[in-house]
């Protein structure tokens, strides 16, 4: 008893514990320090500033980070070549760049700097494209819509309309590519399995071109894919290097693949015409929302919600970068107490796993993830390899598919092989999804609410008010 009393007395005389530092101040300090992770710390700071309601400070942080992320010069490259990859200066994977550029562009648009908002929309799309030389278009609809909104704010209606149509194309493109890819893989046709596999690989290699030329018409996209596949086959049979996406397909199999392409093409066209309406419904809803946003509405709200993609190391030496998609979430938003309709414009998990030069995630899943750039090196090979390997395995011979997969994998992880461990430093503030809400409230002050938080917005007499609602990944269950 006496001992307890003494301890209690001693406790009472103890020092008052120091006040824990303000996390925002700590992050501001970290982001101010030069170093190979300064861009990452600035992006993290932007996330925290937005969460604290400091849009101006978030914009300032991103204004510092973005030029570094765009720069082609970097510190620490030699050290990273010799050691762990994370010793290089952090610039972000393509999906992180897209998120940073889009976020900054949205903030700039809301603050009236439409010139630079437009610039960020263009950069976001370019970061996604990657293979523009080959003529493949970006499917980052959020970046294209940002361009359209900036053009509209500048009074350039024709440019705004053109950007909007590209955004709509992007939505349909990324909807159709996986649907048609799955459709082609779902049925069997009569004929030699090896030749059919080669035919299927050629058709898949042509899919991106077909969808790019007719992104809103599944059957026409398949016909375009067939046409492109025919061209690819002819190019493959010509002397010289094989066209991108067809490396590893044996010339003999390609020569005999024409009949198989015809049979597959017919079934594929039928399947495209019979795509279930519910599979196309999300794209239709997104298209309506995009057109609504450009239709002279008074309020356009970007909502960044959901859990963003995550990076992980994989492989014997942790040499492979694996990007694990997050979840776009579904935000519930109210404008002055009335629920708003929100539509998903972009799933950043999709963007993260299908873009950039290291699409190791698709490889590791062992299943074709196929989209617009699929005929470019790497992914096209692995997709084709999957098809051949799956077919050949049933015959007890997986050599052809194995070679294709191996070549594709080598291309994919060429950078990672030189470095013992893949760089998994990540900006955790990338949202899982970019959502859009539009409304026509009367001019004056209004309040947007979500998850117990509020954002005030002033709707002008003329023109459109833009708002950004950052719900943050940490708030997703």
């Amino acid at each position: 008893m006496r001992l307890s009393a003494m301890l209690l007395a001693a406790g009472c005389s103890a020092r008052v514990p120091p006040t824990p530092p303000d996390p925002l101040e700590v992050q501001r300090e970290r982001a101010s320090l030069p170093g190979r992770e300064q861009s990452l710390e600035l992006c993290r700071l932007a996330t925290m500033e937005l969460a604290a309601g400091n849009a101006d400070r978030a914009e300032g942080a991103l204004r510092q980070a973005v030029p570094r992320m765009m720069s082609v010069t970097a510190d620490g490259e030699f050290a990273a070549l010799l050691g762990a990859e994370d010793r290089k200066e952090w610039k972000g994977e393509p999906y992180e760049k897209m998120a940073a550029y889009h976020l900054l562009g949205s903030l700039l648009l809301a603050s009236g700097d439409t010139d630079n908002a437009l610039a960020m929309g263009k950069s976001a799309v370019l970061a996604d494209t990657g293979f523009r030389w080959e003529g493949f278009s970006s499917d980052f609809a959020a970046g294209l819509l940002l361009q359209a909104l900036a053009f509209a704010a500048e009074g350039e209606a024709s440019n705004a309309d053109a950007a909007l149509e590209r955004a709509v194309d992007a939505v349909w493109q990324r909807t159709l590519v996986p649907l048609l890819s799955d459709a082609l893989l779902a049925f069997e046709v009569e004929g030699n399995d090896g030749e059919t596999a080669a035919a299927r690989a050629l058709l898949l290699a042509g899919l991106s071109a077909g969808v790019s030329s007719s992104p809103r018409d599944p059957a026409e996209a398949v016909r375009g894919a067939l046409s492109r596949a025919t061209d690819l086959r002819a190019a493959l049979l010509d002397p010289g290097p094989p066209p991108p996406g067809t490396e590893g397909i044996a010339t003999g199999a390609a020569r005999r693949a024409l009949d198989g392409m015809g049979r597959l093409g017919q079934r594929w066209t039928e399947a495209a015409e019979a795509l279930p309406p519910e599979a196309l419904q999300p794209a239709r809803a997104t298209e309506r929302a995009l057109r609504d946003a450009l239709g002279g509405r008074k309020l356009v709200v970007w909502v960044a919600a959901g859990r963003g993609p995550r990076k992980a190391q994989q492989g014997r030496y942790g040499e492979q970068l694996v990007i694990v998609p997050g979840r776009p979430g579904r935000p519930a938003l109210e404008l002055d107490g009335t629920p708003m309709d929100v539509v998903l414009v972009d799933d950043m998990g999709w963007q993260a796993t299908t873009r950039g030069a290291r699409r190791v995630d698709a490889f590791n899943r062992g299943k074709a993830v196929f989209k617009d750039t699929a005929t470019a090196l790497g992914i096209g090979l692995v997709v084709a390899g999957d098809v051949l390997a799956d077919t050949a395995r049933t015959q007890g011979d997986s050599t052809a598919g194995g070679v294709l997969q191996l070549v594709g994998a080598v291309l994919w992880i060429a950078g990672a092989v030189a470095n013992p461990q893949a760089d998994v430093r990540a900006w955790e503030g990338v949202p899982g999804g970019l959502w859009l809400a539009v409304a026509d409230p009367p001019p004056g002050p209004h309040r947007i609410e979500a998850r117990g938080r509020a954002w005030d917005v002033d709707v002008p007499e003329r023109g459109t008010a833009f708002a950004l609602v950052p719900l943050g990944p940490q708030e997703e269950p």
Binding site: V72, T73, N116, L118, A119
Partner: protein, 189 residues
Amino acid sequence: MRIALGLLIGMTGCAHRAKYVDPDAVSKVEGTGLEARDLRAVAGEMTVQLLGSPAVAAHEGPARVAILPIENRTRFLIDPEIVGTLVSDQVINGGGGRIAVVNRDLLDEILAERERLRTGAVEGGPVGALAGVDIFLEGEMRGLAASDARNQSDYLVVRFQLTDVRSGIVSWSNSWEVKKEGGWSVLYQ
């Protein structure tokens, strides 16, 4: 030991100190967009061309020029006002009086002060008409970008033009262009 430790701390401390560099020097953070030296080169060349243009040379007395906001249509974050400011400085200070820059940014303040002068609220005497504008100077930056996983290329054009306010005719125009290519190292591909 203490001296060595002190030296080490001192060296570490020095590493993060900011330093002055030549605005035309190659920066540690460079992309394929417009850098400081590009903007300075644009402003310098455009000023020389502008001062030597027939539209300005043929003008009786100083040509009264209003510099309009310069548009950025590139994919890069740029403060376009930098170029406008540099051009304005150079034509005022190095133009030998051939160009008079009309300031419309302060129009509200100027009108308010003129009203105070007119009513005698402040001393300064009678006021005449404000200077009109003979020529509008417009500028825009445009770009064409292409990239793949390894390379980045940007073609950038900065264009200026003079429009005569009386005729509406573009009396002079000139472009400054540059193409830059950069490669991502294997670590960033």
